[in-house]
């Protein structure tokens, strides 16, 4: 059985989403909704207010500061704050140009949205968070998830369900983990952050680590046991370790049936009749 060391940076990236799940954009229903500002116009009947100058909203342990004031409604706990938004709760830090709190269950960080939770950061033009469904999604054409270890994942859009622990990245997915010398790409990616976790790169999937690469219609990279499964039109390029004579192995998998890539691949032989290749690191 061919062994390729493809360590997964996916672990770091998926954990990022898990942590972001806790993004405490969450607001407790019964927590007081408190607005501080230089000046506030307020209607007690409707709950509508306009805050001027530096404005701070406190709710459920979250502190949100806006440099340019904004509108709010204390009854439905909605707000539209403007100007250098900075919002903190526990180890979560949010920055954006504007923050729209549609209600206590739904909010949008708009304009250079940047949410950091722990050592992970999600960046997009806009990040929407639905508390009632525990769902986050980026809006716009560029989303980026980074880790302080240098790992990153880019896609046009990233969504994440905290209930299922599944994140979806769509549109020109690329990822890299410099500490693991790993890069990957695909049309889309699905992260399963629970049950050990793995990432599926789907459509034009490609992963490279330390010169070894695997391509296919679909790649599954596991977080825990460092092995990769490739399905459909698989191509594996393997570079042995330096102490061994350098050999390039290419395996092309086409056709029906299933099988595993064996040592024939190391010799550069092409194999046929399998649609699935399992690469054990």
């Amino acid at each position: 059985m061919m062994k390729i060391k493809i360590h997964t940076s996916v672990l770091a990236l998926s954990v990022a989403l898990t942590l972001l799940a806790g993004t405490a954009i969450l607001e407790a229903k019964d927590a007081p909704f408190s607005v501080h500002a230089d000046e506030i116009d307020y209607d007690m009947q409707s709950g509508a207010g306009t805050a001027s100058g530096k404005t701070t909203i406190f709710q459920d342990g979250r502190t949100t500061v806006a440099g340019g004031g904004g509108n709010f409604n204390s009854k439905d706990k909605s707000a539209h704050l403007r100007g250098g938004i900075v919002s903190d709760k526990d180890d979560e830090h949010l920055r954006s140009s504007e923050l729209i709190m549609h209600n206590e269950n739904y909010m949008s960080a708009v304009g250079n949205a940047n949410i950091t939770k722990g050592d992970k950061t999600l960046v997009a033009n806009q990040v929407d968070y639905h508390k009632d469904s525990n769902f986050m999604e980026t809006i716009g054409s560029n989303a980026r998830l980074t880790s302080t270890d240098g790992s990153w994942l880019n896609a046009a859009k990233i969504t994440y369900s905290m209930d299922s622990g599944v994140a979806n990245a769509t549109g020109g997915v690329t990822l890299a983990s410099p500490p693991r010398k790993l890069t990957g790409s695909g049309d889309t990616a699905v992260y399963e952050t629970k049950s050990g976790g793995h990432i599926d790169l789907i459509g034009n999937a490609h992963a490279t680590q330390d010169g070894n690469s695997v391509s296919g219609n679909r790649l599954r990279v596991y977080n825990t046991n460092s092995h990769t499964e490739a399905v459909g039109n698989v191509k594996i390029v393997y570079y042995p370790k330096p102490q061994q004579p350098k050999t390039t192995a290419v395996a092309m998998q086409n056709g029906k049936g299933a099988g595993k890539v064996d040592k024939a691949a190391k010799t550069g032989a092409k194999t046929h009749g399998t649609a699935k290749a399992e690469v054990i690191a």
């Binding site: 019964d30 927590a31 007081p32 909704f33 408190s34 607005v35 501080h36 500002a37 230089d38 000046e39 506030i40 116009d41 307020y42 209607d43 007690m44 009947q45 709950g47 207010g49 805050a51 204390s74 009854k75």
Partner: protein, 187 residues
């Protein structure tokens, strides 16, 4: 000559006192003191433990029970001490007010209270401030100094709050805070 001045002073005092009592009993219609406005000595008329009220078109606007009322300027202004009273609002609500001191203009229904003012609406809602002033005609109530409004589960604080006597809509200026969802003491 000296006797004449004394007599003039006494007469002026009596006139002012009569004017104050007339104002107390008849509202904002103050009888003319006599047309001769050359009274030089300013006589202070003072009454204690009395109830004062203002009416307009037969409707009582406010009623204050005061420990002391004094007109220091010959009847244009009445200063109060130890005030407890009621302000009768157009919507039928009644605002109970209390303050250590205050003042009202004789010609008009406006008043101001200070020294730690408390106001409470019968239908709910309280306001505390170091000072409040009320322009009755426009129904503009301006509260300054550590102002706090509480109504049900909503509280507002600030250096100054401009509102109406209904305490429903307001502008908070300086260290403005509006909070909803807490348990606030309306006392």
């Amino acid at each position: 000559m000296k006797n004449k001045q004394t007599i003039m002073a006494v007469v002026a005092g009596v006139v002012v006192l009569v004017g104050v009592f007339a104002w107390l009993f008849w509202g904002s219609i103050v009888p003319d003191a006599g047309g001769k406005k050359t009274v030089t000595p300013q006589i202070s008329a003072k009454v204690t433990n009395t109830t004062m009220s203002r009416t307009e078109n037969g409707k009582k606007i406010w009623e204050f029970t005061v420990g002391e009322a004094e007109s220091p300027d010959g009847g244009n202004t009445i200063n109060f001490k130890d005030i407890k009273g009621k302000v009768f609002l157009n919507n039928g609500d009644v605002m109970d007010v209390s303050a250590p001191q205050g003042s009202a203009q004789v010609k008009g229904n406006d008043f101001s209270l200070e020294g730690g003012v408390k106001a409470a609406l019968a239908k709910g809602g309280t306001l505390v401030a170091e000072k409040i002033s009320w322009q009755q005609k426009e129904d503009v109530l301006t509260a300054t100094g550590k102002v706090k409004i509480v109504h049900d589960d909503t509280m507002a604080k600030g250096d100054q709050i401009i509102t109406s006597s209904k305490l429903v809509q307001f502008k908070v200026k300086g260290h403005a805070l509006v909070e909803k969802g807490g348990n606030y003491d309306e006392d």
